[in-house]
Structures are given as structure tokens and as C-alpha cells.
């Protein structure tokens, strides 16, 4: 089969790209291994709500129009939202068509699936940034009898055997899972490395409202100081909830969660935690305050002062006094370890040499090093918000412009 562009993946990013290609009359197909919104259906825990408010769910030609703009979508609502988008734009999705290989040919690519091959001039990788839970090598040293679960396999507290849980990682996934398990009666310890603290509400408004309005989410990839670093910062410590609560380390401490440093090793069946917790918390508080400073400066410049709550700062992260440095994993205190240590994309099906030695795709703002190949949906691809639902639209727009130019007046390859 011939088509000008193959989009791989029918998540919101692939769909946004499809909509932009349609408005430029580029014929294309979306190949999806499962169904539309597959990862939201199969790779998230049950109680998860988006941490972005509903009004921030904006896609090209579509947006949230319900009666709770400040709420946070549940998983079924998110799935429904993306499915309705696919229907709304009549996206040409081929479900249950897993791409098993992409190979370069003289004037484009050959894309192989069990349902046949596609030849295309350009290909868009929209397969997601979170295909595989990343588990650090120390996991291999856990003693027998301890269950090991990733944030991707985690569904609900009932799935976890009774007893203590060690959650490793304190970004958005780790803090939310720790909170849920502690509430359900599992005594939780959370191992904290680098993390970025953020209040849910600041000066009476959602932190994402501020980040959007003050332009933080729009910071551009070619204008920031250290792009490599920016692409690897962990997710903000945020959660979506009906009461719009802040889920930071102080909140977990209030709930009785035990807070320890980064898990750095397991020796003689003892987990070892870094003594750097205090510094990790300090760095995180400093980063949060820098964000709030930027917001305050912007609010001042906009003349908002006076009409909204005055600037204020939050109590420092307090739960850092003398945390234990070791934990005996044989004593029954911990029955399960949950790895909330981040996610990685999976490019095992990609037979084009565009990966660096760490398996990351080499690209300039989504334009991959291989001609005619594009990638979308990665962290800080073109903007700080690139991996958020709200970031897909402007990125898809930019990449479509590039793609159309690269076709150089020879767009349609139908037959």
C-alpha cells in the first residue's frame, strides 16, 4: 500500500498530527497496535486522573467543552475524550495493526505490520514516551519473597499483597501511588531522589493556569539554556483530585508515609538509601520558588496584583530529619516494592539508525535525523508542554509545516 505519510500510534499526539495533515491535504494513515487511546486504556492505574485541568485539554479543532473546566478527567473520561476526538476528525486509524519494522528505502520508508506493508514518503513516530516502565538495575538485588511492581503494572491497592510497601520515586506517579496505598492501610515508605515540588493551587488559581498564562508551558526548545537537562527533568509532583489537593512530601508526611532518600543499593537484603535527602528537598523547594517568582513577576507585569490573592510561599519540605539509611527487607516490614522510576519509549521496531547510544532518538525539535522522519509526543520536543495533551497541537502544526515543505511540491503518492 502506498500513502504519503504513515503515522504510527493513535494516542492524542498521532491524532493531532493527523488533523494537521488533513488540513494540508496530505493523505495518510494511522497505524495503531491496539485501539485509539490504547495506553490510557491499558497502561494507567484505575484511580488516576489527569493532573492537567480539563480546560487545558485542547487539541487541533477540538477542546473540552463540559461543565467542569477546572476539574481533572478520570481515566474513562480521558479515554472518551480522545475517542471522541478521533471520531470528530474522522481519523484514518487502522486498529490492531502493530508496526514491527520501519526501514528506509530510496524515497521514503517501508513500514511493516502483520496486516501488510505500507510505503510512504514520510513517517511520524507517535508511539508515546512512556511505553516501558524504567526499572533501575538495583531491582535485581531484591531478596526473594518481595513483590516487584512497576507504576505501569500497578492498578489498585487490592492487587498489592497485605503489608508494607516501598515506593521508589517521588514524582507524579510515585507520590500518587504512595498516597493511595497509605490510605488503603499499607504502611508506605517512599524513597525520594530528584523531584520537582509544585502546589496545586497558587494565589487562588491552578498552577497549570499560571504556567500556561505566564508562558512557562510555551518555553521553546531552541531558547532554553540546557535542553538535554530540560528533556530529562522529572514530572511535577502534581495530582488531579476533586478537592484539588497538593500531593507533596509534606502531605505524605502528614499521612504517615515514611520518607527516605534515594534507593541506591541492596546489600545483604538491606535496602540502602542515600543521605542526600535533605539536599534533594532543598533543591526541589528552590525550584518551586523560582517558578513562583516567575509567576509573581508576570502577575505584577500584568497588573493582576490587588485583584487576586497576594504572593506567598509554602512551608519548606520538613520531612527530612534523620531518615533511616537502611531498611532490612527480610524483616517483613516491606512486602512489595513499587518502581515509580520513570518511563522510556520503545523503539525496538525501528530499523533506521537514528538512536543514540542510550537508545534515544536523535532529532531537532521532532525532525529526526533521518530525512522524512518525524517524532512527536516526547518531553520538551519543541515546547515545555510537548508531552502534555495541550502540547501536541502546536507541535503537530510546526512539524506539519516542515513535512509539507520537505515534500517539495510533490505531496500525494496515492495509488
Amino acid at each position: 500500500m502506498r500513502v504519503t505519510t504513515v503515522i504510527i500510534g493513535a494516542g492524542h499526539a498521532g491524532l493531532a498530527m493527523s488533523q494537521c495533515l488533513r488540513t494540508r491535504s496530505i493523505d495518510h494513515v494511522i497505524l495503531e497496535r491496539g485501539e485509539v487511546a490504547h495506553s490510557w486504556k491499558h497502561e494507567r492505574w484505575e484511580s488516576l486522573r489527569l493532573l492537567t485541568p480539563n480546560w487545558l485539554s485542547r487539541l487541533p479543532g477540538y477542546r473540552y467543552e463540559g461543565d467542569d473546566p477546572d476539574g481533572y478527567m478520570t481515566m474513562p473520561e480521558t479515554i472518551g475524550f480522545i475517542e471522541r476526538y478521533a471520531a470528530h476528525i474522522s481519523a484514518p486509524v487502522r486498529s490492531r495493526t502493530e508496526v514491527t519494522s520501519v526501514r528506509a528505502k530510496s524515497d521514503g520508508y517501508r513500514v511493516t505490520t502483520p496486516a501488510g506493508e505500507w510505503e510512504c514518503r514520510t513517517v511520524v513516530l507517535a508511539t508515546g514516551a512512556c511505553n516501558k516502565a524504567h526499572v533501575p538495575p538495583v531491582a535485581a538485588a531484591l531478596p526473594p519473597g518481595i513483590d516487584s511492581v512497576t507504576s505501569q503494572d500497578y492498578r489498585n491497592p487490592a492487587q498489592i499483597q497485605p503489608g508494607g510497601v516501598l515506593v521508589v520515586g517521588a514524582s507524579a506517579s510515585g507520590t500518587q501511588i504512595a498516597e493511595e496505598l497509605q490510605h488503603s492501610g499499607h504502611p508506605v515508605t517512599i524513597a525520594v531522589g530528584e523531584h520537582i515540588r509544585a502546589p496545586r493551587i497558587y494565589r487562588g488559581r491552578d498552577i497549570k493556569w499560571w504556567m500556561d498564562a505566564a508562558g512557562v508551558l510555551d518555553d521553546a526548545y531552541d531558547e532554553i539554556d540546557d535542553l538535554n537537562r530540560a528533556r530529562h527533568v522529572p514530572s511535577l509532583q502534581l495530582a488531579g483530585s476533586t478537592e484539588r489537593r497538593t500531593v507533596d512530601l509534606n502531605h505524605l508526611d502528614d499521612l504517615g508515609v515514611r520518607i527516605v532518600g534515594r534507593l541506591v543499593g541492596v546489600a545483604d537484603s538491606k535496602a540502602q538509601f542515600s543521605g542526600s535527602l535533605r539536599n534533594q528537598c532543598e533543591l526541589s523547594d528552590l525550584k518551586m520558588n523560582r517558578l513562583l517568582d516567575r509567576i509573581d513577576e508576570w502577575a505584577e507585569a500584568q497588573g493582576l496584583n490587588g485583584s487576586i490573592d497576594p504572593p506567598h510561599r509554602f512551608e519548606s519540605t520538613r520531612c527530612v530529619n534523620d531518615p533511616p539509611l537502611t531498611l532490612d527487607l527480610r524483616k517483613g516490614e516491606v512486602r512489595t516494592v513499587i518502581w515509580a522510576t520513570g518511563y522510556r519509549p520503545d523503539y525496538s521496531w525501528l530499523d533506521v539508525p537514528v538512536l543514540d547510544r542510550k537508545g534515544r532518538i536523535r532529532h531537532d525539535g521532532g525532525v529526526a535525523e533521518a530525512p522524512g522522519m518525524y517524532v512527536i509526543g516526547l518531553p520538551f520536543l519543541r515546547r515545555r508542554k510537548s508531552s502534555l495533551i495541550d502540547g501536541a497541537g502546536p507541535d503537530a502544526q510546526d512539524l506539519t509545516e516542515h513535512l509539507v515543505k520537505s515534500l517539495d511540491g510533490r505531496p500525494v503518492a496515492t495509488s
Partner: protein, 188 residues
Amino acid sequence: MSTTKRPVDNGVNVEHLLAARQALTETPAGAQFKWRAKCEWVRGTHSRSTVEDFFGLGEEQKHKRTFTFEADHPEVFASEDHGATPVEIVLAALTSCLTGGIAAVAQNRGIQLHSVSATIEGNMDLQGILGIDSEVRNGFDGIKVVYDIKADATAEEIKALVAQSQKRSAVYDVITNPTNVTVEVRKV
């Protein structure tokens, strides 16, 4: 939101460090270093360590001269006090590593330093090393460093400087994280 950098001089050649970072990103093999020291027992608890050569950037390297460190124990341990105790050397290593880092980070962030001084204190319960109580660890049960810094920067910026220096410090990492240590013996 990059601010234009003020010209500052803390005596750190940041351009050189950044160039090294760039070069080592492209050829990571060059970043594999081996640091070495040699140690000779002198008498009693007195020992002398020397540091002379190391391996890095793909080849053997030599310091401009041989550095010598005397280590001993104080008279309260019935020793002769020919040098600082090894744990004091560790404390000195930690503050000097952090202090060097503070200067480098300040230079990179365009912050002029005027003075940086630190006091460092490590608490230790000797019941561990004397074998009196096996529950007590041998090492420090806590280390506290206090920095006094005069610089053209806000209190927040100075805090951030010190935090970043901890994040990048090799000795801080060595002390806060477990490291596998192998000690072999050769009979001569």
C-alpha cells in the same frame, strides 16, 4: 528565560570545563578516570599517603608534583599526632570538594564571590569502632557543614549555588551513597 551573564571572575575557567563536558559527551570513553593513592605505614598509627599519578582522557597522567598527606591519631588515643585523623581528612575532602564546586557553579551562573568559608563537623560514636556496641555504626552518624558566603547575589541564589555544588560533588556522593570497596592483600 536566560539572563545575560554578568562578567565575573572567581578564578574558574568555566569555558574550559564546558568544552571538556562537550568533548566528553562525544567521546564518553575519555571520561573514565582512575584516581589513585599510595599509603605507607610509618610507625604507630602514623601513615603517609602520596598522590602522584592518575588515569584519564584515555591515558596515564601525572600531577605537577607529588602530594603527601600525613595521617595519625591525637594524643588522647595515645598516638603521636603526626597528622590529621583519616576521618578528618574525609571532612576536609568534603568541604574542599564542595567549595571548589561552589566557585565553579558561581562562575557559570555569573555570580561574583568575595569570600567562602566553611566549618564542618561530623559526629561519631566511638562505641562502634572500639567494638563496644555492634549496633553503633563505625562511620559518622551525621555530618554538618555551615557555609559563610559573601557574594553579589541574593540569599536564594547563594542557597541554590550550594545545593547545586552538593548535587555535582564527587565526595558528597561518595559519602552519601554506598560504594563497593574491594580490599585485597598481597604478601611480600
